[in-house]
């Protein structure tokens, strides 16, 4: 992305100490130190655990061999749910967005469904799909569906009709209009939807595991809570944090490649020979 050219390049420890990266790391270290100190000096280990206890717990989790199994289970649920939700939401959003009439008729129903607090549906999914992986996948998919549906729907509806008509004039067929005009045009919306939906997929998987499961990061957090193992709960949260950071940076990467044309603001190219 854009490099800030206003700051002249400097070297030496002064520059290093003043750099954002250094300060960011510093904030992290200070935060962790406070946490540790608070936990030890006020004997709050039971409530807030401590970084060292969480680290110990993570090591124990890894040694037991459960960590990787739990990770695999949760990631499978979340990613399958994400994919299913994206396909279903993207497809429905595209169809209803493109065929205005159908969209106008069905929109209120989808909005109504969306307004249900979806977490409350989790028990229903257990009833329908049992306590296995399918239940979590479908629950995550449902959360993702709504987000992707709405963003795609809005995106497709925002497609400039004049631009489409111009493409017809240039000789496009229906397929061309969809793939070369409508989808790229709404890509900004769709990608925003994907980014918002990604944490939702994880939430879906975790909630599903909370409700009923025998493996997964959510299951491990629930189990640790049952044993009043605060450090275990924090260890689970830490793992979730890492997962979502990885997923988000992956999506950012895709976004940057897809939306490259949006970069380079205001760089007016000069006329040839002027």
């Amino acid at each position: 992305m854009a490099i800030d050219n206003r700051q002249p390049a400097r070297h030496g420890w002064r520059f290093f100490v003043g750099s954002n990266t250094f300060l960011q790391v510093l904030v992290g270290i200070v935060g962790l130190a406070f946490w540790e100190a608070a936990s030890r000096s006020f004997d709050l280990d039971f409530w807030i655990s401590s970084p060292t206890a969480v680290a110990t717990e993570l090591v124990r989790w890894e040694r037991s061999g459960h960590l990787w199994v739990d990770l695999r289970v949760t990631m499978t649920e979340a990613s399958l749910g994400f994919i299913v939700g994206c396909i279903a939401g993207g497809f429905t959003g595209f169809v209803l967005g493109w065929t205005q009439r159908l969209g106008d008729i069905l929109e209120p129903y989808i909005v109504a469904l969306y307004s249900i607090p979806k977490i409350a549906l989790a028990p229903l999914f257990v009833l329908w799909l049992g306590i296995g992986v399918t239940n979590k996948v479908m629950f995550a998919a449902m959360l993702v569906f709504f987000i992707v549906f709405f963003t795609t729907y809005r995106g497709v509806r925002s497609v400039d009709r004049e631009l489409v008509q111009n493409a017809w004039l240039l000789g496009a067929n229906r397929w061309d209009i969809w793939t070369k005009i409508a989808i790229p045009y709404s890509a900004v919306w769709m990608l925003t939807g994907l980014r918002i939906a990604l944490p939702d997929a994880l939430i879906g998987a975790i909630v599903g595991e909370f409700v009923a499961s025998d493996a997964g990061v959510g299951y491990r957090i629930k189990e640790a809570t049952a044993f009043v193992n605060t450090a275990g709960v924090f260890a689970g949260l830490f793992v979730l944090l890492l997962i979502s950071l990885c997923l988000l940076s992956l999506l950012k990467l895709i976004e940057n490649r897809t939306l490259r044309w949006q970069a380079g603001d205001g760089a007016i190219a000069t006329e040839p020979g002027h």
């Binding site: 004039l169 044309w261 380079g264």
Partner: protein, 263 residues
């Protein structure tokens, strides 16, 4: 409708027609926008249409492009009635409709992709078109990085790329500065000469119309009807600066200006 005919023009009149309007009327509800209009455009002709704003100049082009259906009367294109979108024409509109996510090259290639032109041929056609509008070297730039005038040239190149036999141009140079306009006029005349294509060029600039056209149609105020048709009998190939300085040019300007009736 008054006609000022020259002897040489009479010879081309019997050539086959590219476009013909037959008693065409366009109404939007009670709003009488244009017509009744009867007008023929011959193959290979450069026809300019001038007239006050809102007289239905662009409407005429939309009828040929098939984006608008006449309320009554008929529009024929190469002998057949226009039904639905007319893919055969090259329509350059006032807005450039560049796709912001495609590079200059990608935008110009678009109609060739629609037409399934083989990639090797497409590359060559894109290059030729960009050369004609003086945009070589900007293949990889995105529209956002270009000035308005350059974006408009991308739109022109996009139309040139698929080499239509009929061009509909709706004030394509409106957003360009005077020097660039003159340069584009030269380019356009060259393209017309080389391709033998038919041009229907809508403008409100009389000078532009006389410089380029074989024939200039003056439309009346709304509801627009052709008020005067003048054959521009200036020598071809035209040197823009020379003909604009010629006395004949001034005479045409005077005639057309009077017909425009701007007061």
């Amino acid at each position: 409708m008054e006609q000022i005919r020259s002897a040489t023009a009479a010879a081309v009149i019997c050539r086959q027609l590219a476009i013909s309007f037959d008693e065409v009327v366009v109404k939007f509800g009670d709003f009488h926008a244009m017509g009744p209009t009867s007008l023929d455009v011959r193959h290979g002709e450069f026809l300019a249409i001038v007239g006050p704003s809102g007289c239905g100049k662009s409407t005429l082009l939309n009828l040929v492009a098939g984006t608008l259906v006449p309320s009554s009367g008929a529009v024929a294109y190469k002998g057949n009635g226009v039904a639905g979108i007319n893919h055969d024409v090259g329509y350059v509109t006032q807005k450039n409709y560049c796709l912001p996510w495609r590079t200059v090259e990608g935008n110009v290639r678009l109609p060739l992709e629609f037409r399934n032109v083989p990639p090797a041929d497409a590359r060559e056609q894109v290059r030729d078109a960009l050369a004609m509008v003086g945009l070589l070297g900007f293949e990889k730039a995105y529209p956002k990085q270009l000035s308005g005038g350059m974006q408009q040239r991308v739109a022109i190149a996009r139309t040139l790329a698929y080499r239509p036999s009929v061009y509909l141009m709706d004030e394509p140079f409106g957003s360009l500065d005077a020097q660039l306009r003159t340069r584009m006029h030269e380019e356009l005349l060259k393209i017309w000469q080389e391709t033998g294509a038919t041009f229907v060029f809508v403008t409100h600039d009389l000078q532009e119309a006389i410089t380029l056209a074989d024939r200039v149609v003056v439309m009346s105020k709304r509801p627009g009807i052709p008020k005067l048709v003048v054959d521009i009998d200036l020598p071809r190939p035209r040197d823009i600066i020379d003909i604009q300085a010629s006395p004949a040019f001034g005479a045409y300007f005077k005639t057309l200006w009077a017909a425009l009736d701007v007061h």
